[in-house]
Amino acid sequence: MKNLIYLSFIFLLVGTFSCTTDTTEKDNQNADTTKVNENNQKTKQYYNLPSPIELYADLNNASVPFKLEGLNSTDKLNEYVSTSEKSLMLGVYASDIAYCAVYGMSDQTMNSFAAAKKLADDLGLAEGFDDKIYSRIDNNLDKPDSLDEISTDSYSMAINYLRSQNQEDILPLLIFGGWIESAYIASESYNASKFSEQDVVVNKVLEQGFLLENLVDYFNSLENKSKDFETIDKQMADLQELYDQTQDNKEAMITEEQFKAITAKIIEIRNFWTKNQ
């Protein structure tokens, strides 16, 4: 039980994030709109990305069937070797845990949990959550206010641990992994016989474009990025270009061709990292 709770915390590191970067604001080219920062001021930037839980809950509420094949196989666990791969895949499995939990799939939850736990151990993330935290959580499951306080401590410990170990690169990869998995599952959930932009899955995939924009901004704010980050930057730029094309539509929010192109790219990116090509 403690392990389950522990993993849920890792998942939530993925699901919602808030990071800060200090930047010097540039001219934002708002010729016909509001110019927000007129001077070169130091700006603290914070990014929020809604949790995949919200996406999965909306799919479940709309009676979109659970897609077992949407989960990443745990058989490939040993193929994820580098720290970057493990970090990203931890986000993928954590997202799978959320998907299974929302749909009440206990067996699949445990499978994904076991995979994520191994990756977390490999990354040394377990050290960010000690047994005292587990005990406090386990003892306060029915006390939401206490859990709120405990989660504050747990989060701070995790971040401080990652920083102390010079592993700040892990967090963006966790976040990206969790997001691309949720976008992938949404894409794989599309099963309509006739395309409609009113379809809930189509809408959810379209909404991911806004989360993508926040992620792109977040990644652009990072410094000293490794080669894996450059790959992700390129993949997100390609995907964003597809989303941008929907903004040129005169009538429809998204056409069937655009939807197919976007979901194909999401699937391609997700399968690239999960090595399911």
Partner: protein, 216 residues
């Protein structure tokens, strides 16, 4: 309580509290603007941070369709209200001139058979009778992000010091906070409260535990 339920509850609780944690002061413990919490849940996307004089902060967030949001910025009541704005970004395609190519086409003097006549007195160069210049402009498309003002606290005529709306279409919002240089000598917590409430209860929410809609 089975393990899945416990997991779900833990996820929900942590999700609601994750993004509101401060890195410096415990600004999250400052319950500024509590009169305006209403029945919104401010734990998911609020950001609590310390700003120094002259600092600006921006919170970039996503608001989902079908949910109601309330946003405001609050500091210690001892100080005058801080200036803040909300904008919504949008991406547009801007066409820019990449290059202008000029192709000059000369017309030459020709004989009855259409052959070009060369000038014996000028190194047998063709005799030019006319000239046209074709101009080809090459454009390149570039996506540019712009922002549209949604709310400005200094221009708010409402009795309520917050922005609130039911979101019909998912989009991003940027919340800017400007810390004056002359009012807060040592800086202070400037908390961006982003509250959300579901318009309809869902079965997922009930399965994941009772939705927490009260801040305290």
């Amino acid at each position: 309580m089975n393990s899945i339920t416990k997991l779900s509850i833990a996820m929900l609780v942590f999700a609601m509290s994750f993004s509101v944690k401060s890195y410096a002061q415990r600004c999250d413990r400052m319950k500024y603007g509590s009169d305006y919490y209403g029945d919104y849940d401010f734990r998911m996307q609020s950001v609590f941070s310390t700003l120094l004089p002259g600092d600006t902060s921006v919170v970039k967030t996503v608001v989902y369709a079908g949910k109601a949001y309330r946003i405001f910025v609050a500091i210690d009541e001892e100080y005058p209200p801080v200036h803040w704005k909300i904008t919504t970004p949008y991406r547009v395609t801007v066409k820019k001139i990449k290059a202008i190519k000029h192709d000059t086409v000369y017309e030459y003097k020709r004989d009855e058979d259409g052959e070009i006549i060369y000038d014996e007195n000028n190194d047998y160069k063709p005799i030019v009778t006319g000239m046209t210049v074709d101009t080809d402009t090459l454009f390149e498309s570039k996506r540019v992000q712009k922002e549209k003002l949604v709310f400005d606290s200094e221009k708010n005529n409402s009795d309520n010091p917050y922005w609130g709306k039911i979101i019909r279409k998912t989009h991003r919002l940027f919340v800017y906070v400007y810390m004056p240089t002359d009012v807060y000598p040592e800086g202070d917590c400037a908390n961006v409260y982003i509250g959300r409430k579901f318009l309809n209860a869902s079965k997922s929410q009930s399965r994941m535990g009772k939705p927490r809609i009260d801040y305290h």
